[in-house]
């Protein structure tokens, strides 16, 4: 049996597609995330000049929750990448830390620690463009939030 040249071309095309598929699968398994510690207040200005207003997208999402606070400021922001079945920690303040586990298939397990103590663990699907927010009351009728989202 004599192999025709066209078979060779198909063979290399197949190999190339397999390589691309493997690369895409590996890339998909990782999640690039951003965790933000946000302070919510009804005041128009923040006491700390280092605090910057949250970006428009996050602000719109927070406003869609119909919370009483008008303004939201970023206290700390951390970006990190989590491989599938791996866990990454991000310290957002001296009291607040977040741990994120990549459960695969776009699912995450977010653990919030306050002063070293676990105060909540949330498992949820977190597709790109969605925001997972945890929050609680803070002093002077303000609020704290930890927002987690996937980066592009």
């Amino acid at each position: 049996m004599k192999i025709k040249p066209v078979s060779t071309r198909w063979f290399w095309l197949l190999v190339m597609l397999l390589c691309l598929g493997a690369t895409a699968a590996t890339a998909r398994a990782e999640m690039k995330l951003e965790a933000q510690l946000i302070w919510g207040t009804s005041d128009d200005v923040t006491a700390d000049p280092l605090h910057k207003p949250v970006d428009a997208d996050v602000a719109a999402k927070l406003k869609s929750l119909h919370l009483q606070w008008k303004n939201f400021f970023v206290v700390e922001s951390k970006q990190f990448t989590v491989a599938k079945d791996d866990t990454q920690s991000a310290k957002l303040s001296k009291d607040c830390e977040v741990k994120v586990k990549n459960l695969g298939h776009g699912d995450v397990e977010m653990t919030i620690l306050g002063r070293g103590k676990e105060i909540g663990k949330i498992k949820q699907s977190l597709p790109k463009g969605e925001l997972l927010v945890t929050g609680g009351n803070a002093e002077n009728s303000t609020a704290w939030f930890v927002a987690l989202k996937q980066l592009e």
Binding site: I3, S7, F11, G120, I122, V133, T134, G135, N137, S141
Partner: protein, 168 residues
């Protein structure tokens, strides 16, 4: 004339009968015209066949004759297939890998399809937020329109465990 008498007549002609029986048959031929007629007919037939049954003699020896037959049999036997041309290692590998690649591609497609299915199933399973919280007063709110989920915790513990919203 009975069949037995006819057979005995034939045996008489062939000289196969004992002397006593041969005398009886000879007497029968002498007195019975039908027996005499059959005897004459058989005798003529025998005489006619004698010339036609001459033995054939081969012009060559028996061994030489069979050796010729053997040669003809061997010549008529199917010719063995010619040796295949040697194939290079690359061609052999290519022949091996082309079908293997196709099988591998099918397996990968199957795995991806299965994972995709599981992913959809998992996504459906985790559609709702699963929380493991220290306090039972936690509240979860989804805004599916904007893709935002809020989990309100009572940390730090104080009197107000509900989020302060403008719209309830």
């Amino acid at each position: 004339m009975t069949t037995e008498q006819q057979l005995k007549l034939q045996a008489f002609l062939d000289g196969e009968l004992p002397e006593g029986e041969a005398r009886d048959v000879a007497a029968l031929i002498a007195r019975d015209p039908e027996a005499a007629k059959l005897h004459a007919e058989l005798k003529n037939t025998r005489q006619a066949l004698k010339g036609a049954d001459a033995g054939m003699t081969l012009p060559e020896s028996r061994e030489f004759f069979w050796s010729k037959i053997k040669r003809e049999i061997e010549r008529a036997a199917p010719v063995a297939e010619p040796e295949p041309e040697p194939v290079s290692v690359f061609v052999t590998l290519r022949r091996l890998f082309v079908p293997l690649s196709a099988v591998a591609a099918l397996v990968i497609i199957g795995v991806i399809a299965t994972k995709q299915f599981n992913s959809t199933a998992d996504a459906a399973a985790t559609q709702g937020t699963v929380t493991e919280l220290a306090d039972a007063g936690a509240v979860t709110y989804h805004n599916y329109e904007t893709g935002t989920t809020l989990v309100w915790l009572s940390y730090p513990a104080d009197d107000s465990t509900q989020p302060k919203t403008t719209v309830q």
